[in-house]
Amino acid sequence: MFNNAQEFFNTLPLIIMGGGIVISLLIEIYSDKNKVILPWFTALLFLAVGLHSLFYTNDVSIVMQNMLATGGNVNIFYAIFTLGAAVVTLISIDYIKKYDMYFGEYYLILQTSVLGMMLMAAAKDLFVIFLGLELMSISFYILAGMNRKRAKANEASLKYFLLGSFATGFIVYGIALIYGSAHTTSIDFITTNFAGLTSNLLFVAGVLLFLIGFSFKIAAFPFHMWVPDVYEGSSTTVAALFSTGGKSAAFSAIIASLFALFNGPSGNVFTPYFAVISVLSMFYGSIVAIAQVNIKRMLAYSSISHAGYLIIGLAAGNHDAIAGVMFYLGAYTFMNLGAFGIVSLVEGKNETNLDINSYAGLASKKPFLAALLSILMFSLAGVPPFAGFFGKYYIFIAAIESKLTWLAILGVISSAISAYFYIRIVVLMYFKPATNDFQIETSNSAMLGIITSVIIVILLGIFPGSFLDLITRFI
């Protein structure tokens, strides 16, 4: 398995995560105080893995018989997933009490889903991608229906399960065709022989099926039907994880498995596919979001349009595009987590206060919360000093470099449209009288999570270069 101690050390994030899952299981079974210990243990585990990955990004190697990559961008993806999941854990603690649905499994399955995401990012073989994807997806189906007495949660879980497994069918069939044409499932082989393989129709069909399957997971346009329903029906905290971790993991798998897509100076055979679904997702997401009154559905459509911007990066297909996509995923993860965290705080028992009009006058009642939500909304809309702007900027620049200026222009138009529904929330909070008496239960752990994500969003906005340098060093 490991040729030397260094390789073992490089694989530590995965090993700690796996060991943490086993320990959580034991805590859940044997400890009387598991309701207190387990959430904080989970948060600390995520934090430990995330910081470890960030500190040791230089340890680039390939371990386990060419199955897993370590170090470099893989570690940056680990950090995005685990720190994001740590925020999700923090906002979950009091949310779960509010809905009276404490199950120890919640935290356990949160951890297994993150382990799945990490495997997807680390994959050097289509085997590992498939296993990681399924570990993540099956955990997500359970998380979506965790509140099993609520009919809405059941329904969200069923829809997610049926459409998610449908997508898995495409991915497995795609992998089978790729295997048939490349004679191996090793990603290194596929990357080095990509140009030759693309003349094989079987291979192109396989990659297209693979990409269609992943388009479901990243919530791109023709395959987006499940997104609003699942986000609305499942718990807000879990929806936060689906929209950030799930999407980032699917992008990391596309980048890991089809790295060859990004080697050309300007696009490749699959660029038209990406260009079409990116335009459709951007515009569909931002136009339909305007019509939404439920804030969770609005964030779901916003997530579809963000998937569109990210796919522009895949269409651009050069090394700057990967850097842009990774930057945007980091920025998007934290701004969306913050927004969902505030929604989960404002949300009352039995799903009250989810209408966007119930945010009217929030600024006069809870000025601090309103200020945080405004920062996040400006960042999601792509207003300059925040992280969201630089993510879009890097992706659009990469698109222009590979002669896809029209795509970048459409991206800018779409983000101008989407600014309307983000800014509308800010206007409602600051300029409308309160119609709602906001029985917001304060929650220190949730505030900690939200403030952390806002700080990350601001830092990424003020010092975008330092994070970008970290990413580009390894491409």
């Binding site: 189906y141 399960f161 497994s165 898995t168 069939y173 295997y179």
Partner: protein, 101 residues
């Protein structure tokens, strides 16, 4: 007698499209789920075909993983279907519509 590889591939592609059609047209959650399993099995058939044709064992190895994962999928999926049946006494997708599709 040697059956050419195309026959297997056409059969598995056909199975795959039967599965897709089943997912898109059937309204009973359990039948939709069975169609999904059919899609996974068509992928398995393709993998085994290529494995035997190319003379390397990666494909057959992959099939074991796919089957294991499909079993896990079935366990979770049927549990979800039972949970929804307890709440609504139906597994018809058209009647499971509190959330707009």
């Amino acid at each position: 007698m040697n059956i050419p590889i195309e026959y297997y591939l056409i059969l598995s592609a056909f199975m795959f499209f039967v599965g897709v059609a089943g997912v898109l047209t059937r309204r009973n959650a359990i039948i939709v789920f069975m169609s999904i399993e059919l899609m996974l099995n068509s992928a398995n058939l393709t993998l085994v075909t290529f494995s035997s044709y190319l003379g390397n064992s990666i494909g057959q190895l992959f099939v074991f993983f796919v089957m294991t994962v499909a079993a896990a999928d079935a366990a979770v999926g049927l549990a979800i279907i039972i949970a929804i049946f307890r709440n609504k006494l139906t597994v018809n997708i058209d009647e499971i519509n509190i959330l707009k599709w």
